[in-house]
Amino acid sequence: MLYLVELWESVRDFMATGGDVLWLVAGALFLMWVLMLERYFFVSFVFPSVRKEIIAKWDAREDSTSWYAHRIREAWISQAQEQLNARMGLINALVAICPMLGLLGTVTGMIAVFDVMAIQGTGNPRLMAGGISMATIPTMSGMVAALSGVFFSTRLKARLKLSAEQLVDNLPHH
């Protein structure tokens, strides 16, 4: 428990030095990971049964070579793909947003630095240092968030594509 309190303290200190933009980065990172974990869960635990169902339905069909059969197969594949790729656009957008949020933090931090300069002059570097840490920490966090997102979302995309292709392969024209 005490460990958790200390952890929270250190997180709070980090957030305080990084400024408010850091909360936006944290929010974007959290949302991105929740969505990605949901997709991982879907593709590993939910989708196999969906796939099995579609394959069974296809295998039960007598006609699998007519124009109708082709269209129905395409529609099923499209439905399955839609289920697989749901919210992937949002994940990609969040990955793209993270570095921009970092940049936003940089610029607001620089504004803080120049505001201090405008009021106090350059005499006190300690006052400016607060703004500079507000400028650099969000950039770093945004980069880290985006990197984690880029790596795992690419893996996820490949996995989703593979699952869809497995489905297509399992719907033969018998």
Binding site: W67, R73, A93, A96, M100, M110, I119
Partner: protein
């Protein structure tokens, strides 16, 4: 004219002297004959000799007098000289006496002298402290007494010493107290109102749910022209309204008003937006436009997908929606061959999709333009800054810093506008993709399965 008068006067004087010269021989020439003249001369000689004798006697007697005078003057001089010597002596004696007495005084003062020095120094320091202390807003005029004591040349009286001790004690006690008192507060428009003021030690003044400031020069309590962030000010109202014994949190200014002063100089969000200038306003306009389109597209797409979902449940009865219109084409086609049906369906689908996708790319373009416009604002701001530098030089960082923070504001605005637009685009594009997928790939499948079921 003046010259004329002087010549006249000179001429008159000369004539006058000339007439007297002429008159004398006339008087002496009273003797008519030579004998008479002779006897007259004789008589004159005798009287002259008598006269001379008399004058001689006079001179001699006078000479004796002068001798006596000289003698008395000399004796007076000697007397004065003696007096001078005597005075000189008494002066040196007195000098030595003064020396001795002041030495005696210093010994007699002893430790007390040191103490009076300390008193003077402490009361001097104290007057400065009291003048700026927030406690003085409640008890004004304390610093003047201290100032007088600090400047005084003579030794302080016991009463004054007690005053110093009392002032120190008051300041110490009051700086540890939270007190409410009624005082005149000058608001930002210069109006003076009496209100209940809460003082937290010597740190912060609050009144009417706001932070107040104390101006030591005029000795007045001022309303701050700008308050800190709302959540900080909110604690003040809670603190002032708290019941006795209740514990509430409150933000105080440990720098005794300095931080609050800095807060008044901090730009608000509104002012920062204003600093963005015309570019900032264009970006805000783009954001508003993009958000409007996004919301509009989100609403229409949600409505459309709901309609399509309802249409999927009753395929025999095509309504007025995108899937319904495709189904209508299928229905009107009747028993045409499969290839013609596919062509007709493709045509119908092609007619439907652009309507659904319209506007989505616009959101993306707006999201891409906003940061670029922000960059444009930054560059124009930097140009303005450099123009300032050419005019005023780099001597004052404050001039440049103002321009630079202004320049950066547009970058912030550009990013702030781009971020929601990117997210909205992701949402809207996802929605649109699911709708077009239904129309593009699944509609023919739906038609096919329907036809199959009918054929059975």
């Amino acid at each position: 004219m003046k010259k004329l008068i002087t010549t006249a006067v000179v001429a008159a004087a000369m004539t006058f002297s000339a007439s007297t010269l002429a008159a004398e021989p006339a008087a002496q020439s009273a003797a008519q004959t030579l004998d008479q003249l002779l006897s007259q001369i004789k008589a004159d000689r005798q009287s002259d000799a008598r006269l001379n004798k008399k004058r001689e006697a006079e001179f001699v007697s006078e000479r004796a007098d002068k001798q006596a005078l000289l003698k008395s003057a000399k004796s007076a001089l000697a007397g004065e000289k003696q007096r001078g010597v005597d005075l000189q002596k008494s002066f040196t004696d007195n000098d030595q006496e003064i020396d001795r007495l002041s030495r005696d005084l210093a010994t007699a003062t002893g430790d007390l002298g040191e103490m009076f020095g300390v008193v003077r120094q402490v009361s001097g320091d104290m007057s400065g402290q009291l003048a700026t202390s927030l406690v003085s807003s409640q008890y004004p005029g304390r610093d003047e007494v201290m100032m007088k004591l600090g400047m005084a040349k003579e030794l302080p009286t016991i009463k004054e010493l007690e005053e110093l001790w009392y002032s120190l004690q008051t300041e110490m006690t009051q700086s540890g107290k939270v007190v409410k008192f009624t005082a005149d507060v000058t608001d930002s428009s210069g109006e003076v109102k009496a209100m209940e003021v809460t003082r937290v030690g010597s740190f912060t003044l609050m009144g009417n749910g706001e932070f107040l400031n104390f101006n030591p020069n005029t000795g007045t309590i001022l309303q701050l022209p700008k308050q800190p962030e709302g959540y900080k000010v909110a604690t003040v109202g809670k603190f002032q309204g708290a019941a006795p014994g209740e514990t509430t949190q409150v933000f105080i200014d440990p720098s005794r008003g300095g931080l609050l002063q800095v807060y008044t100089q901090k730009a608000t969000l509104e002012e920062q937006f204003e600093a963005g200038g015309i570019v900032g306003k264009i970006i805000a306009g783009l954001l508003a436009f993009g958000l409007l389109i996004s919301v509009w597209k989100l609403l229409t797409l949600t409505a459309e997908s709901a309609k399509i979902r309802a249409q999927m449940k009753k395929l025999d009865n095509p309504g007025n929606n995108s899937l319904g219109r495709i189904l209508k084409v299928y229905k009107e086609a009747g028993d045409v061959d499969v290839e013609t049906l596919e062509l007709k369906l493709d045509e119908a689908i092609l007619q439907e999709t652009p309507k659904i996708e319209s506007g989505i790319n616009l959101i993306k373009v707006l999201a891409a333009i906003a940061p670029m416009l922000g960059l444009l604002g930054t560059v124009t701001g930097m140009i303005a800054t450099f123009q300032d530098i050419t005019l005023f030089g780099t001597g004052d960082p404050k001039i440049m810093a103002g321009g630079i923070s202004m320049a950066l504001v547009t970058t912030v605005l550009g990013l702030v506008a781009a971020l929601p637009l990117i997210l909205m685009h992701a949402f809207v594009a996802g929605r649109a993709k699911s709708v077009t997928d239904v129309l593009d790939k699944q509609s023919t499948g739906i038609v096919a399965s329907h036809a199959e079921q009918r054929g059975k």
